[in-house]
Amino acid sequence: MENYTLTINGKKQEVSAEPDMPLLWVLRDLLNMKGTKFGCGQALCGACTVHLDDVAVRSCSLPISEVGAGNITTIEGLSEKGDHPLQEAWVEHVVPQCGYCQGGQIMTAAALLKQNPTPSEAEIEAAMQGNLCRCGTYNRIKSAIQTAASR
């Protein structure tokens, strides 16, 4: 076990964990932050997406020992009051069905908009293709991203 100091949603957190433990399980099991979801464990589905210094990363495949001093943002910390333009657009378009993939979808979309505030449809598709939605909400996800981008 090693001790790590992480910055998560602007707050410093001390954890001790095996160095190979993925950030996903650090968040979920050690810090009881359940917004970040487990879907595949292999960087294939995007359910576990968080930001590391504003870049979308798959926390299931990021060992804690590689996180370093970067700022981690999770869905719980994307906005203070749940009013990030994407979150608002998500509710407006009633994007979620089961909802399980949606935190990851929003985090990937937020990283996209940060880097490219007015993405084209093709750019949205390219950025979002790592996030699976088994319920089939892709079209509403796209519309919600476009709505948020237009504001």
Partner: protein, 762 residues
């Protein structure tokens, strides 16, 4: 759906459940009236609220309560897996009640069918089964509120109405909140059900409109609680190494290396059912219990297990599918007969003979199974589970632990997808057994690999259809051979043919006016666990039949939509009873209550033709395909447009659906089910397949079991809902079956190549 085995044979169950609601409510009414403080009843907390003193709660039935603070709380008793049912059923009650929807609180019921009625969330029947009970529950409460207010004001109840969680006096400004009537209601007897009148459909303000789901914001902010999100003190996490082949048993094992992994505490063996595996049993396995998920996973990898792989160890699914297809060349067991197909064949001017194959599919819900169990010192157990069928899980846990039903409390979390997978209680039993063995709360966590390797799969299938045309191009004969290992075989290996229930899903209910029809089945064995996946055998049957109809239309030189309308014939109710020997099950409903009406089918077909602009002259490089299929009592027609991009990849620019599901409750969720259904079906058609070799699943994660990603999704999905006052029917499954043949027929038009096997590549 469990209904394919037990419920279909149990047709009275639904009506029994319906009547229970009001019987239970009388008893609960008394309980609630006598409660002064605290406690937890009917899923509603009695709270105290500061200076105003105690909040008093009144519940006229198990689904509704309001307290003196004017908080209206509605119980959602069906499982939310993405259909929006947790919103739609409360909407009906709120509308009847005249409650202020923006302030409604929705509480998820625990699994208790004696109290809430049927909770088996499956078979697209939540709205169908509970539309009337929800209306009545709301109307009863409204009736009482109005009685109370009228008495207060000394007016006739007919002078009063409800709105915004208040009772209003017509043509006056007088009003009183529901909350201010609670004290009066507590001493009021429940009304005679016959005196309670539900609203006219035209009076509804929520029903029939687009209403956002209750959980949207919680989901968008990461607060919604799914199976794995419940945390209990001292909880251990379990990962289980399960039998790699169905029926395999552990001969011996060495857990020394697993126990040496930091964080691993314990290894526990789970006795599996063997063969038959059963629908309600866990597989044999060895569980590693650890203080966190990662340690459990590493511990599991370190286990050394010697397996007796059992009789399925040589199973190869590709070989079986070939053999199944070949078996259709023989005479099978006749399941429906009209006229004389053989005579039609011998006098036919032209015969089309095609075989369609589909693979096994896994559900691959985004949330892999995760269940939490807390076995307590007193022998009771509390469960948190993303379960589609909490009552089944409850009974299965009671059985597995040898305790009584009341000792099992099951809390239903949100489900990160269900599609039929989470009806099965295997994960719930695993958690309960492990918590009992470990004497701590346990979360059983499945990985994606577990999910794909140990599913209850949608069965692979071969469908051979022989169609005959006479000299004038009339379709004179239809002979469909349906073969697939049946769901029932998972519990009973002697079940070698598809059941009547499974055949009634799009095969024996072939609706077209063809003078000679023969439907036959052939034997096939289950070598894995077969279950039900969104729309079940409708997938196989609609794919084959609707692709064949397209091929027949081409052979006859007619337009497939014209042909469908022509062959549906006059507007009338079909009855398959005689030709199936009384074996047509109509999704568990009486055919008189939910007829198969050709007029309604034609109407959705005409609507989709119009909305998709079917007769348009398409730009070259684009093509349209059509299919129509009724399932789960809902009529659906679908047109899919396809084209190829510059790299030769197939693009689906447009999908048009027309649906008649009777009264539409939450029209936004109807649309979202169709949008999602089209995407789900695109995966089935083009990207997903489970295969077995040496008895083991050959796909492991989303790299080898692929589901579509955003760029592959249809770009535009239009859903046209036919306005209707007919009884409501479900929409969770019906979008899937017609989509696949509509897509395949479009692809044929684009490429000139017919599709006979899924998943197909272009």
């Amino acid at each position: 759906m469990k209904n394919f085995i037990p419920v279909f044979k149990d047709k009275n169950k639904a009506s029994e459940d319906r009547s229970k609601i009001f019987v239970a409510s009388r008893r609960d009414f008394l309980k609630i009236g006598s409660l002064a403080t605290g406690g937890f009843l009917l899923g509603v907390n009695f709270q105290c609220s500061g200076p105003k003193g105690e909040v008093v709660t009144f519940a006229p039935n198990v689904y509704i309560s309001f307290d003196s603070d004017n908080q209206v709380t509605l119980i959602a008793h069906r499982s939310e897996m993405g259909t929006g049912i947790r919103t739609s059923l409360p909407m009906i009650m709120a509308d009847e009640l005249g409650a202020d929807w923006s302030k409604i609180k929705i509480v998820q019921a625990e699994g208790d069918e004696d109290k809430y009625g049927n909770q088996n969330t499956d078979g697209s029947f939540s709205v169908r089964m509970f539309f009337e009970p929800m209306r009545k529950a709301g109307a009863t409460a409204r009736h009482m509120l109005i009685q109370a207010a009228a008495a207060k004001w000394g007016v006739d109840p007919s002078e009063c109405y409800t709105e915004n969680s208040e009772v209003h006096l017509k043509e006056s400004r007088k009003k009183v909140t529901f909350g201010d009537l609670v004290q009066d209601l507590l001493v009021m007897p429940l009304p005679d059900p016959a005196a309670v009148k539900t609203k006219e459909l035209s009076e509804y303000k929520l029903v029939g409109t687009d209403v956002a789901i209750y959980d949207a914001k919680d989901i968008a902010t990461g607060k919604a609680v799914f199976g794995a999100d419940v945390d209990l003190p001292n909880m251990q996490i379990a990962m289980i190494a399960r039998s790699p082949v169905v029926g395999a048993k552990i001969i011996s094992y060495n857990d020394a290396k697993a126990l040496a992994v930091p964080g691993v505490n314990q290894v526990v063996k789970i006795e599996g059912a063997g063969i038959p595996p059963g629908l309600d049993k866990p597989l044999e396995g060895l569980a590693v219990l650890a203080s966190n998920t990662w340690a459990a996973k590493k511990g599991r990898e370190a286990l050394e297990i010697e397996w007796d792989l059992g009789p399925n160890q040589d199973y190869n699914s590709t070989a079986q599918l070939e053999a199944m297809a070949k078996s259709t060349l023989q005479n099978g067991k006749v399941r429906r007969e009209r006229g004389n197909f053989n005579a039609a064949k011998s006098s036919a001017a032209k015969t089309l003979d095609k075989t369609f194959k589909i693979p096994f599919y896994a559900h691959a819900t985004m949330e892999p199974i995760a269940v939490i169990a807390d076995y307590k010192g007193d022998g009771s157990v509390e469960i948190w589970a993303p379960s589609q069928h909490p009552q089944w899980a409850r009974g299965a846990v009671a059985g597995a632990l040898g305790i009584e039903l009341p000792q099992v409390k099951i809390n239903v979390t949100l489900l990160g997808g269900g599609f039929g997978r989470k009806s099965k209680p295997d994960g719930v039993i695993e958690a309960a057994l492990l918590s009992k063995a470990a004497k701590t709360p346990v979360r059983v966590q499945w990985t994606r690999e577990d999910d794909l390797h140990h599913d209850f799969y949608h069965s692979h299938s071969a469908q051979r259809i022989v169609a005959t045309l006479d000299g004038s191009g009339n379709l004179t004969g239809w002979n469909q051979h349906s073969v697939f290992p049946a769901i029932g075989a998972t519990g009973n290996p002697d079940e070698l043919h598809p059941s009547d229930g499974e055949l009634g899903l799009g095969c024996t209910d072939f609706p077209f006016d063809v003078p000679n029809i023969r439907i036959e089945t052939h034997e096939s064995k289950a070598h894995t666990r077969i279950g039900w996946l969104r729309s079940v055998s409708n997938i196989n049957h609609a794919f084959a039949a609707q692709c064949m109809m397209d091929e027949i239309a081409e052979a006859r030189g007619v337009d497939p939509i014209q042909q469908a309308i022509e062959l549906l014939g006059e507007d009338r109710d079909l009855n398959f009873a005689e030709e199936t020997g009384g074996k047509y099950e109509n999704y568990g409903e009486k055919i008189e209550d939910f007829p198969w009406n050709t007029g309604r089918m034609k109407k959705v077909i005409q609507a989709v033709a119009e909305k998709s602009n079917w007769s348009q002259n398409l730009a070259s490089g684009k093509a349209l395909g059509f299919a129509a299929h009724k399932s789960f009592l809902t009529y659906v027609a679908c047109v899919v447009m396809v084209e190829k991009d510059a790299n030769g990849n197939l693009i689906i620019p447009e999908v048009h659906y027309a649906v008649d599901c009777g009264v539409g409750v939450n029209t936004d969720r109807i649309k979202s089910q169709f949008e999602g259904g089209a995407q789900f079906a695109t995966s089935l058609a083009m990207t997903s397949a489970i295969t077995f070799d040496k008895g083991q699943v050959q796909q492991h994660n989303f790299d080898s079991y692929q589901i579509i990603r955003m760029p592959q999704s249809p770009k535009k999905i239009e859903v046209h809902i036919i306005p209707s006052t007919e009884k409501p029917t479900g929409v969770g499954e019906p979008p899937v079956p017609p989509y696949i043949p509509a897509l395949a027929n479009a692809v044929y038009k684009l490429t000139g190549k017919r599709i006979y096997e899924l998943p197909f590549k272009v």
